[in-house]
Each structure stands twice: as structure tokens, then as C-alpha cells.
């Protein structure tokens, strides 16, 4: 698959839009998942994912093959998400800003709780809500590093490349993100 990705990138850099389409379709789910995890809103996540791919097309000439394509596209998407979150923090009174609201049940795919007893499902829901509240207290950069490590399984070096940071910064962000989540959940339960 890495061979395919390299070939698609080379063809796309030569102006082959179809090859870029293959790249996009290959990574679309992961980029969307990253965006949703950061902004917690489906419409914003779709919009940001689209912006990331348009920007990737425009900047594809600057991609160097000594890096991995997915950390490059993650970097574009991450920066857009962080900008979005900073703008949202500056105008929290915006009535159209529904991004902090949790998704409705209809938006969510079936979870394991759908197949367990109602009281256990309720308990799982409470744990999930407490976790979401704790997650919302993290700095966006810390939440991003944690997500890239835990959900996407990126190495420290890959996270550093995807976020434009040093490895030491990544390690520090991961530690403080986890510590804060643990403390928040302890005080919330």
C-alpha cells in the first residue's frame, strides 16, 4: 500500500487529479476522524476535512518524499482544526456555535452499550460523558497529541512531524494531557 501511496503522490504532483482522488479516498476516513475528534461536530469536521484536501492539492508541490504523506496531510488538517478551535474560543457567544454540544444519539454509530443491559448502558454513558467533559478541558494541542498517539497510533516522531513540534514537546504534551484527564475524571466521579 505504501508503494501505491508513493505512486499516487508522484502522479498527483505531476497534476494527475485522479491520482490525488485515490490518495484522498485512501486517507479520507482517518482525516475526518481526526477532525471530528478535535472539533466534536460533524458539519465542522466535514468542512475542515474538505478544506484540508483542497489545501493539500494546492500545496502538493511542497511535499517532500522524505516524509510520510499521512503525517503531511495530518499536519494540514491539524492546523486547520487548531485554527478553528482558536476562532471558536474567541467568540464563544456565537449562537451558531454548536460545536461544543455533544452529538445526538442519531449521529453516533451503534456502540457496545447498545447491546448491554439498560443500567450498564447508563453507567457507560455516564463514564463517556465524564470523559468528554474532561477531554474538553485539555488544551487543543495536548488533545491533538493524545489523539494522534492513542487513536491513530503515531510514534512520537510522527506526531512531532504532524504537529510541527519537537519530540520532547510531544512527550510533554502527552504526559500532561493524560495526567489532566486522570485528575479531571477523578474529581468528576
Amino acid at each position: 500500500m505504501d508503494q501505491d501511496v508513493m505512486r499516487w503522490v508522484q502522479r498527483a504532483q505531476g497534476g494527475d487529479e485522479a491520482a490525488f482522488g485515490e490518495l484522498m479516498k485512501h486517507y479520507q476516513g482517518r482525516v475526518y476522524g481526526l477532525a471530528y475528534g478535535m472539533v466534536r461536530n460533524t458539519a465542522d469536521a466535514e468542512e475542515l476535512t474538505q478544506q484540508a484536501w483542497v489545501r493539500a492539492w494546492q500545496k502538493l508541490g511542497t511535499f517532500k518524499h522524505d516524509a510520510q504523506f499521512f503525517t503531511w496531510i495530518y499536519r494540514i488538517a491539524s492546523n486547520l482544526c487548531l485554527d478553528h478551535l482558536r476562532r471558536r474560543q474567541r467568540r464563544p457567544e456565537d449562537p451558531l456555535n454548536e460545536a461544543l454540544e455533544p452529538p445526538t444519539f442519531a449521529e453516533l454509530p451503534p456502540s457496545p452499550s447498545a447491546t448491554v443491559a439498560p443500567d450498564e448502558a447508563l453507567r457507560q454513558r455516564e463514564v463517556r460523558d465524564a470523559f468528554d467533559r474532561a477531554l474538553a478541558t485539555l488544551k487543543p494541542e495536548h488533545a491533538l497529541a493524545l489523539r494522534l498517539r492513542e487513536v491513530d497510533g503515531l510514534s512520537y516522531e510522527e506526531i512531532a512531524h504532524a504537529t510541527g513540534s519537537r519530540v520532547g514537546t510531544v512527550m510533554s504534551r502527552l504526559f500532561y494531557a493524560r495526567k489532566k484527564l486522570i485528575e479531571q475524571m477523578r474529581s468528576d466521579t
Binding site: H26, Q58, P103, M185
Partner: protein, 169 residues
Amino acid sequence: MNCRGAQRALNLRHDGQLMAADGEALGAHLAICPDCQTFAVRMEQVGSQLREEPVPEGPTPEAAWASVQRAIRLAEDGAARRPAWDVGPWLRWASAAALILVVAGGGLLWHGGVAPRETAAGPLALHATQVLRVTTGLEGASTMVYEDEAAGWMVVWVIPAEGGNHAQM
């Protein structure tokens, strides 16, 4: 190893980055510290909570690609329709800087050569990283330039110091 060191070591161990020697010291600490034992368990829970987090289904790759293609066309059409006088961001910034110099010079003349001074931050920093604050000859006034990303306009504000109206160009 104290608790702080143990928590840092747990963080590394969770990511598979802990050195063997530190692992032994961590094990010795965990054996006698219930708080750090709890911390270790919760660290694992944090990871699993994140990984099991449900993500609403997004558009299919085909639908997403169709949208991206439309957006690429729009962006390219927008660039192609850009008027001849609109020669790109660098010259727009340069023009804005020149305009500021003119304003600053005018201010100096108006106030009979008042020494310029650093100004306070402007109130309308829509894009913090793109805001350029400059020194003007209007005593206490501040001038601010930013590019309105949505409209593509270069906006210049000159803000008088003493409760005057904002002047927008």
C-alpha cells in the same frame, strides 16, 4: 523514584518507550505506592476510552472526493477571475505598508513632528497571526492592518487615542 518520576515513567511505559533500568525502578515504586498503581490503571483507561470513542459516520470517500473536486474548481476559478490589479498577497501587503507610511507621515506633519511611539494592541485582531501593528505619527493612535480571509480584502484601521471614531480604509 518518587511519585512524580513514577508518573512520567508510566507515561513512557504506556507508549512502549521506557528503558529497562527505569522499568525496574518503576516496578519497585509501584509495589509500595497505591496512588501510582491507581494512576497506572487510569492511564490505560484513558487510552481505551479514546480508542473506543464513537465517531459519527462521515461522507463516503466518493462523495467526499466529489465535494473536494468542486471546491478545487471553485478555488481555481476564483484565482482565474482575480482582477488584474489584484496581484497577490505580497504586493497587497506592500501596498498596505506604503499606505501606512503615508498616514504616518501625514500624522507627523499634522502634529508638527511629534515623535512616534509604540502603540497599544488594536481591538479588532480577527486573525491574530496576520495582524501587523505599526507605529504612526498620531500620538497615542494605533494602526492595524489585516487581511480579511473571507472577503480577501486588505483592511487598514487607524484608531485615534482619545475615544475618537475608528477610521476604516
